[in-house]
Symmetry: C2
Subunit: 934 residues, 2 copies
């Protein structure tokens, strides 16, 4: 059978349906469904869709059409004319049509549309007679000329112009001139004569600029429009969009040709848009806006404020206006019925467009409606309760980033529209926040005490800044990437942060900040309560979810503690997961918070974090003493003091986790990170060690490294200074033993970081085992549960995982370091090239944000396979920052990990992502089984 | 059949032979061979060997012997007595024996020996009567007491003593006292009475100290001696030695019991050692020394100067002495005959021991003789020419480190014996050198101009030091590893260097250097020709082959240009290699040198090296200008100037390589490495860019990175600044085009470094291809050969090699970086932990010196497999520092690489190693085939 290129729809029938998106495009398939499905049969303006196969043919055959197309289009047009009782190009009763694109996947604004096709010098008089509205007709004509000359005669013809010289812009100027001449402001103030005159000028201009007459033949207009849509599929913008979104270039677009209906034919006409439920909060009410006597594009253009369709759509801006419900109750009732049927039919919230032409309601479009996070969660839950969708469908309805909106305040999207960012960076900590800028952590602490909301702005942060970071509303740095100190700390706290905003030129001395030649932050001296004078900068707003910084204070939307909904939704998800979700937490407080978010253990407790922030002074001092020690005795003496602090910290955390496993990573960072920079601190330290400042500086200098990330850190410290491992093991085991004695449940897991060889692990396990036995003896215990395992974060360890698994009881992938070493990308230095890599498409994503499945993922896969080959039930998890990234969570699920671990605020997201991964896996298995049967 | 534990030898017969080393130990097997093989049947003192199986039994059965042993020993003893016509313990004609250890693999000095066993109060009179030499007998007795009490009664009994309290030391003191009392200096000045008295005192002391009588029963002595040898197998020193040498603990030692012969029985007696060829130069002359009227241990102890065995063994010290050839011509002739037969039999140079007892010649030992490098090469060549050995055997006879001795001066081993090193570090540049210490490169340059030999001592070096490094005899640094800047530069030049000598505390200000509390280098002010006063340190000697530093000037041995021998030997090797050998060279001079060493191309030409050293001022300045450029225009302008220098450098190198392939690596290091530190240079740069110093400093600061090794470098520079790649490609292609126009042959290979993804490569290749086409057009050429490939030095690239090979025409493994990233070891920072790792046996070797086959090797293997799967004939080489390491070369051979590339001075070593790898491969294949047949 010959291929069918044209699919008719309307009048209760349709050749196609919603399942034919790849052939008819999203728009065409939905129009067919609305028009023809027995459950719907809605009043859709008649039309037909030219298939995507024609697009493919068009590009494969030097921009020509299949020979059969012309006839099919003409016959479809005839069918419309037969039902509509009018005729394309008819002098008395002319049919006008729209020509629109429609790809399989939505590409909003990327392709072209031409309206009012069929309006010519010859058909104008008939239409005027028919509508008795010459202004409407000339207005439609000037719109046709503007769109057509731009889309078909210029763009599709491949004429390249600079912005100011394009035909569209030139016609716009003529329109402005006409209004200016008449002394009016709005297009609507031009009358029929003005517009007729304008149309003549337009046509003259088109001829002057493009060297061609504006076509006066309706068929020429139609084929021109169809060709322009196909041509726009390979327009620059569309190609760029597809590359970013990963849409294949050979999918092609369909073209829908539909008879025009007009909402601007008088007071019995109107046009509007609506959502079957409120997209902002998910409430189950029809929600929409309409404009009486207007065309669709007027709603979009925002020239007039639209009125609410009903009472429940009223808001502060439009509550005084008459709703459609009141003004056209009968039509509203029909609309209400249609939207309800659409939602029930599609089993999802629908975004609809409608037009009322002289008292008759037409449905122009329907599609799945966009919604914000809280609305997505509420709708998913409600629709599941209404038995509209299954549990699985409900879970799949919410994207992880929508869930994120329930956890943090965000900038009101309306407020952002008009604002220009003053800087862009890497979104490192979620949510948004406003405050006054300070450039030093000390100032931050002092000003926060005064109750001033502040934002800490630094080149980069280090452990000494932590207290200042904690009291800040947000953190903004000029350097660093997703796993820089600032980003790690911020994310751990769920605090808003933007890092690596490279354009910022911070002048600490002058307490100001410039971008290019502009000063964006200017300091001002204020006197605080203590009488001290501190310089503080102006207010900025930081969007840590998007990585954008604005000047001034922008309005926020608070998720307003949707905890009940959130928890109900997550409880729905939990039974579907195979992956456990743990958290990265370093304090009893974080541990408790993570438990409240549903964490099933701690996947990463960093011992070194007790040296940051509040209460860290004494332990940090002791750590420094230990670090600059030269002899084992000096070091042991510092460690013995430090040990008590370690024990208490660990004990609190073990207790907070109520018997859930707690993975404690032994000291990881290069020691010199902790060496003090301030003179007073150095002097204090020298005095305590009874050495000279010179001597201390020499020792500190000796710790400096060229590439500390690959230096003397992690297990390498434990090997060279066994007493460091011993002390930590003692703190962990004695904390556990004391809790057990007090009748509590504990499950510590000791994790050795930066391992590259099994012998390193053997060396450390021997120390751990020895201390364990000593602890049993000391506390008169027979045994208590503990595990000893390793991070897999060094490429060599991944390859040698089979050997390492001979003694490791668990693996935890440190994907930050694995990504660093695997790519040879220093996380702190990627600012110089990663943005360029993403822009040029060399990398699809920041590999520190989403696991690079192809490369680093391959390493992980090798390690999992080799590890499990040696030890079948090896416990495997991930504790890098990727543990909270949905795509990475799915990867972890797919390769069979046991758990992911992420910062407390991302635990809910990981729970969702893990459930979705499992559902997707089942769906794939089902569809595979189906295929197998066929 | 019952196991045989005792193997008799002597009198023209032997139960064993040389092939039974694992059962009889090296010594026992060779004694059997000498005594019993039909070709030899040399006069070996009769004896028997107790097998290593007895040792194994001994340790498996709580230090007891197999029941059958006693009888077998007694019967072997009987056999000796029967032939010798004497008897163990006999009053009139007593047999004396020696008891010696002998492991499968030589463990010199690690195990015990007891001589003169069987001498008791009862047998002394008979022996006196027999020898008519009471002094000889009492001397033998006091030796027995000294050895036996030490070895058997103290050490084997497990009595631990501090050095000063050991029985041996206490008896030594009694000996000293006796000489002191008599007023003489030498042992030989004591007469028979003195010695008899001393023996009595010895026995009393033994009883006092060890609480036991010295055994007076010959059998007790014998079994004590045997037990002591077995016990010494697990002595501390032996265990440590085995661990270092990788000798398994369960091999065990054999014990050889042999009738004593005495070279100290008068003027018709003598003892000596010899080599069948000269071990110092390989000359084909019997070479040896002897002492008349002396025992073997006297030769070793060096109390008397030995005489030469013949005329050709004469040297400055002994030329006045009478040779054995002259003093005992008949015996010498016999000896000459024996040694010749031994060499012919063993087909290798033999190290022999002999004793003449009252005019009768005995052969005591023979083994393969140690030799130095030049001798090894000469002997291998000569023996091949003599048809004594095959080509393959000749090639396998020379170790790569022996070959190295032919390339560099070394410290005279005799001179080192008494010296204590003042510091130890990593052997980074070959050979040895002496000179006065300077602490600054500038001073080095000035002093070298004065003709003073200097050694540059620095914490670490950087590009600004290069001129000073070049003029130094050697380089010594406190920091850095095998691939630090200092090591890389030194090795490239074949210059002596020790790096990472961590104990050095360099005080630049005071121009001195301390180790612990000791000042080892002290500055002294001198006035040089220009009138300038410079501080210069004392003389040190640096051994860059061993990584050791000595105070003062030590005598050197110069390889004295053995070029002819070297070349003949390497020509022997070449046909056996499958691997090509290329060189890492950055200048036309280096390229020429490498060609003279036989390099078959350049595997690594580093474009950045034109910015180091002599003549680098202008290019370096231009590079700096380029680096701190902020706009593309600024950068292009600097690059356009730089381009001419690049072209000329590359042209010279391409020309020097005469059509051999030259792999040119595009700019690799992080840019900030080149930012100047000196103020004058900064000012100059700022002026040239027409910017303020503030501005320049800010730009320089912006280039600073936390982990530059994983920062903005290599291909990342080429992606962010395509003009850098473009300029380099232009320099390469235009250099090539100009040479082709001049009728020369060229083969440039463009290599992109630090690649982690195929898209990076695609991006760069596009630029390269464009420039290539432009060059063809400019020079009116149709085409010329070039290749475009990549370094594989990032773990991710190794895993994704299959994809990368889709466009790469060759791979070159950058094993330095692959080791850095694979292990997460920063080459500059391993000083903090690597020594500890090696000491604790966590790593078997420095992985920057020898490829870590297990881990990094696995990565390379994966990359080779995946790369060749995509492109079957993919050209693969290695250009890391490992390319000159013999073990690594063998690995490269085994996994099927096409070539290795190393610094010019290591090319001969790689040629040898590659040939040996091939021969080993063939041998394995043969022995596998043999096994298959069986």
């Amino acid at each position: 059978m010959a291929k069918k290129y044209v699919y008719f729809f309307g009048n209760g029938k349709a050749d196609g349906n919603a399942g034919m998106k790849s052939l008819l495009g999203g728009k065409g398939a939905n129009l067919a469904e609305m028009a023809g499905h027995p459950e719907l049969r809605l009043p859709v303006p008649l039309g037909f869709t030219i298939t995507t196969e024609v697009c493919t043919y068009y590009y494969q055959h030097k921009r020509t059409y299949p020979p059969a197309l012309k006839k099919e289009v003409e016959s479809a047009l005839k069918k419309i004319e037969g039902i509509m009782k009018n005729k394309f190009g008819d002098l008395e009763n002319p049919l006008l049509v729209s020509v629109r694109s429609g790809a399989r996947s939505s590409m909003p604004g990327m392709m072209e549309t031409v309206l009012n096709v069929g309006l010519t010098e010859k058909t104008i008089p008939g239409l005027i007679k028919l509508t008795n509205n010459p202004r409407f007709v000339y207005d439609a004509y000037r719109r046709l000329i503007m769109m057509y000359s731009d889309v078909v005669m210029e763009k599709a013809a491949g004429i390249e112009t600079k912005d100011d010289m394009g035909i569209r812009r030139q016609l716009d100027r003529l329109l402005e001139e006409a209004k200016h001449k008449k002394g009016v402001k709005n297009d609507t103030d031009l009358d029929a004569d003005d517009l007729r005159e304008l149309c003549d000028k337009f046509k003259q201009k088109v001829k002057d600029v493009l060297g061609k007459n504006f076509p006066d033949d309706p068929y020429e207009q139609l084929w021109g429009g169809i060709g322009a849509v196909f041509a726009s599929w390979n327009g620059k913008r569309a190609v760029a969009y597809r590359r970013i979104e990963g849409i294949p270039g050979d999918w092609g677009t369909a073209v829908s040709v539909q008879s025009m209906v007009f909402g601007n034919m008088g007071d019995d006409s109107a046009t509007g848009v609506g959502f079957t439920r409120n997209p902002a909060n998910g409430n189950k009410h029809f929600y929409g806006e309409y404009l009486p006597n207007a065309q669709g594009e007027d709603v979009v253009a925002g020239i007039r404020t639209p009125a609410p369709v009903n009472e429940s759509s009223k808001n502060a801006h439009n509550k005084h206006m008459t709703s459609l419900e009141k003004s056209m109750p009968k039509l509203y009732k029909a609309l209400l019925n249609y939207q309800k049927r659409l939602e029930r039919h599609y089993k999802n919230m629908q975004d609809i467009e409608f037009t009322i032409e002289r008292g008759k309601l037409y449905m122009l479009q329907c599609r799945v409606g966009k919604r914000n996070g809280p609305a997505a969660v509420k709708m998913a839950l409600d629709m599941y309760k209404e038995k509209l969708i299954t549990k699985e469908e409900a879970i799949m309805r919410v994207t992880p980033s929508q869930l994120e909106e329930l956890l943090y305040p965000v900038i009101d999207p309306k407020a952002v529209a008009g604002e220009n960012p003053i800087a862009m960076g890497i979104p490192a900590g979620p949510g948004a926040a406003s405050g006054r800028v300070v450039f030093s952590a000390n100032d931050a602490v002092k000003l926060a005490k005064e109750g001033i909301k502040i934002i800490l702005v630094r080149e980069e942060t280090n452990p000494e800044d932590v207290e200042g970071m904690r009291v800040s509303e947000a953190i903004l740095t000029a350097k660093g990437g997703m796993t820089s100190h600032a980003a790690l700390v911020a994310r751990g706290w769920g605090k808003c942060a933007v890092v690596g905003a490279g354009e910022l030129q911070i002048d600490y001395a002058k307490k100001r900040c410039r971008v290019g030649d502009q000063t964006i932050i200017q300091g001002e001296e204020i006197t605080i309560g203590t009488g001290e004078v501190i310089t503080i900068g102006n207010v900025i707003t930081v969007d840590g979810t998007k990585g954008v910084v604005y000047k001034g204070q922008l309005p926020m939307i608070d998720p307003s503690e949707e905890n009940e909904t959130l928890n109900s939704f997550l409880k729905l998800c939990d039974p579907f997961r195979r992956l456990k979700v743990r958290t990265n937490a370093d304090t009893p407080e974080d541990a408790k918070k993570a438990r409240s978010f549903g964490a099933e253990g701690i996947g990463l407790f960093r011992t070194e974090h007790m040296f940051y922030g509040k209460g860290a002074e004494v332990p940090l001092f002791l750590l420094r003493k230990m670090i600059v020690s030269r002899t084992t005795d000096e070091r042991r003496s510092a460690l013995n003091e430090l040990y008590l602090y370690m024990k208490s910290d660990i004990k609190g955390t073990l207790e907070a986790m109520e018997g859930f496993p707690v993975t404690i990573r032994l000291l990881d960072p290069p020691l010199h990170e902790f060496v003090p920079h301030e003179k007073a601190q150095m002097e204090n330290l020298a005095a305590s060690l009874n050495i000279s400042m010179d001597d201390l500086e020499r020792r500190a200098q000796g710790l400096r490294e060229s590439n500390p990330m690959m230096g003397h850190r992690g297990v390498r410290l434990g090997i060279t200074y066994p007493e460091i491992t011993e002390t930590q093991a003692r703190a962990i085991f004695e904390a556990a033993a004391e809790l057990i004695k007090a009748g509590k449940k504990v499950h510590p897991e000791i994790m050795i970081p930066v391992v590259s060889d099994v012998k390193e692990l053997a060396n450390q396990f021997e120390i751990v085992k020895k201390v364990y036995n000593e602890t049993l003896a000391k506390y008169k215990l027979k045994k208590f549960p503990y595990m000893a395992g390793t991070m897999i974060e060094i490429p060599r360890a991944a390859l040698l995982a089979g050997k390492i698994a001979e003694i490791a009881e668990f693996f935890s992938f440190g994907t930050n370091d694995l990504t660093q070493m695997g790519f040879g990308f220093s996380r702190d230095d990627i600012g110089g090239f990663l943005p360029c890599y993403l822009e040029k498409g060399i990398l699809p994503e920041d590999p520190f944000q989403t696991i690079d499945i192809e490369g680093i993922g391959e390493m992980i896969k090798i390690a999992v396979e080799r590890g499990r080959k040696t030890k079948k039930n090896l416990k495997i998890g991930i504790c890098g920052e990727h543990g909270g990234d949905p795509m990475s969570v799915e990867f972890c699920h797919n390769i069979g990990m046991d758990y992911v671990s992420c910062s407390p605020y991302r635990v809910p997201i990981a729970r969702l992502a893990a459930a979705q991964a499992m559902i997707r896996e089942k769906e794939k298995a089902k569809s595979k089984a189906k295929k197998g049967k066929r």
